[in-house]
């Protein structure tokens, strides 16, 4: 028997991963949070493509988080279109302006802290040992 995939899925995070600076930031923040064990990163494209295996896997999540770079809110809308009710974060609301944001370690850290220090905090504390600091 190989490695079992039946453990609790916990929190899934879906960044918009858009083409702009804030889109890239959403992706990098999600990867950081996944690396730190605060959530599992999942493929928004698979949800948009309505890959049934991904849809059904996402249904098993305790919570679903959407991180969008801008007010178009593609991640939130894709998830809602598939029938989910994500906890939504818009990086614009967190102080990151489209076209004026550098994707660097400082901003990744700032955005991750704002997200995990807000609505995610309780979930993150319940599901992980906190941030790895990397």
């Amino acid at each position: 028997m190989g490695e079992c995939m039946c453990q609790e899925v916990g929190v899934l995070i879906f960044p918009c991963s858009g083409g702009s600076d804030v889109g890239e930031l959403s992706d990098r923040v999600a990867r950081k949070m996944a690396k730190c064990g605060q959530a599992k990163m999942f493929c928004l494209a698979g949800i948009g493509a309505y890959v049934t295996g991904m849809i059904e896997s996402a249904k098993a999540a305790n919570k679903i988080i959407a991180i969008d770079g801008c007010q178009v809110l593609c991640s939130k809308k894709i998830l809602e279109h598939a029938g989910f009710s994500p906890i939504s974060f818009n990086l614009k609301d967190l102080g990151f302006e489209k076209g004026k944001t550098q994707v660097n370690d400082e901003n990744i850290e700032r955005a991750a802290t704002k997200i995990s220090g807000g609505k995610v905090e309780e979930i993150a504390n319940r599901n992980s040992g906190g941030c790895c600091g990397n």
């Binding site: 028997m1 490695e3 079992c4 995939m5 049934t52 295996g53 059904e56 896997s57």
Partner: protein
């Protein structure tokens, strides 16, 4: 009808298999129940959580052990 149980073979997968077999038997329908245990093949379905159930190639459930009655509802549609 092709029913597939996706999972590496843990007790949850076995329970889902048993429930699917019982559902097919009670409905008295022609269905082939197969197992997909290879992780690469499971992920090809997009499944990240097992056990999962696929009917005629479509994943209808993942990350939970459906009861016999739940499976009966799905395959009766």
């Amino acid at each position: 009808m092709q029913i597939e149980i996706l999972g590496v073979g843990c007790p949850k997968c076995k329970q889902l298999t048993a429930n699917a077999e019982a559902a097919v038997k009670e409905l008295n329908i022609q269905a082939e129940i197969g197992k997909v245990t290879d992780i690469d093949k499971i992920t090809e379905y997009g499944v990240m959580m097992t056990p999962a159930l696929a009917v005629d190639g479509m994943v209808v459930s993942a990350g939970k052990v459906l009861s016999k009655d739940e499976i009966k509802k799905i395959i009766s549609k």
